[in-house]
Amino acid sequence: MKSFLQKMPDALKRVLAVFVLVAGTAVLVRAVLPASLTDSRLHIKTTVEREMAHPVRYAGSEACADCHEEYKVKQGGYHKNLSCETCHGAAKEHSENPSDLKPKLPRMREFCAGCHTYNPSRPSGFPQVNPAAHNPRKVCIECHNPHDPKPTRTPRECSACHAEIARTKELSPHVQLECTTCHTVPQDHKLIPRSVRATIPSERSFCGKCHSKESGRKEAPKVDILTHGEKYLCWQCHYPHMPEVQ
């Protein structure tokens, strides 16, 4: 053996040493180290599996419909797009063990206020109240059924949602005009206000019906509708709900 090593040329010994090193590293990486440290596809796979095994807490409202009749009531009312778990909280456990684990039943005023307190950042048309002024200390669900919430009396047409505009108009010279004088309101606008919109005037001649020199309306201020304000539309300078001269 010794003679064999001695006979071997130096260059070959070096090549062999490098080969053993490379092979050793390969064996270490492929066989000895745990796969999760070396194979990126495997670590991606195990992570994906771990994520997928994460327990589900929210069951989804289809799960509620099987047992609860309130679901049908809800589907007919303004809360139809709310998931049951929006108010009742995560209920996957309840759906698996209905008798022992009950979801929460929020009954306090503060809960409804979370969505329905007036906030200028909320989209207009979303039903909002000032909890300090709206029947203070009374529980919301005494008057409104949470599964089919309705105003207790029929709202006074436009002002129910467009209260700010209604208030402004009350102080303006246009107070005598009905909203429908300028806006055509399809019946569906009251049900799906965002999808079906009321019309708004689009031409100068619309305002001209009262405010042009030829108009028969005596009490309305008159301008020469062809030259007044040059290229601008009337409402670019005058806010129609409070048409002061600016």
């Binding site: 070959l12 090549v15 080969f19 092979a23 390969a26 492929r30 066989a31 796969a35 999760s36 194979d39 990126s40 596809r41 495997l42 670590h43 991606i44 796979k45 195990t46 992570t47 994906v48 599996e49 994520e51 997928m52 095994a53 994460h54 327990p55 589900v56 807490r57 929210y58 989804g60 409202s61 809360h79 797009n81 709310l82 998931s83 778990e85 929006t86 909280g89 995560a90 503060e110 809960f111 206020a113 979370g114 969505c115 307190t117 007036y118 906030n119 200028p120 950042s121 909320r122 989209p123 979303f126 000032n130 909890p131 300090a132 965002r194």
Partner: protein
Amino acid sequence: MERRRFLSKFLSIAASATVVSGFFKRAVASPDGYDPKGHYYGMGIQIDKCIGCGKCVEACKEENNVPKEPFFFRTWVERYVIKKEGETSVQNIDMRIERSNEVFSEKDIVRSFFVPKLCNQCDNPPCVQVCPVGATFKTEDGVILVDDERCIGCRYCIQACPYGARYLHPEKETADKCTFCYHRITKGLLPACVEVCPSQARIFGDVKSSASPLGRFKRMNKLHVLKPSLNTEPKVSYSGLDGEVR
């Protein structure tokens, strides 16, 4: 040994070593019952529908074990207030129930609205590029996940994310972020935030399918993404986004 014979033997050994090492490779199959190839997920957010109730934030924390403290978020909602004069202010909405009765002043406000935010699941994700250990990656269905067994908690990705969508989990000490509720979507459920949203401000689906709520949202609205100049190609798109939103 003759040079030619040595070279031919060396090459044959190297070739057989490659074949043998092939046996050590572990087969990587996709997780059962779900084929990620058929999906590519995205989300649409309608700014003019968000009422800022924070149900999405609560549900996300509940579903994904996000710490309850108010500075750990996988999704959060910002309130933008654009004033007549001075800077636009941005606040994270307060989730505490005792604050739900607060009525905001609307003096000097030009426009105000809520912007729900979450990980944009970028198609060109900066967080994946910077991870020194390859712990964060994009799945086949387009979701960016974090391998919390591989993550070393160096916070590079948290710094790199232009949307601030990542945080360091205080108990695990690894980076954590929105996964689109990967464990839910792979079972055909909606992400928890989409499930509980009372006003359908969030729409979830496949970015490629046009016959879906997300497809409809994309066709019917003018879409924006956050920070488009960074070329991160977010898969979360917004409609009705104000130019002030950063």
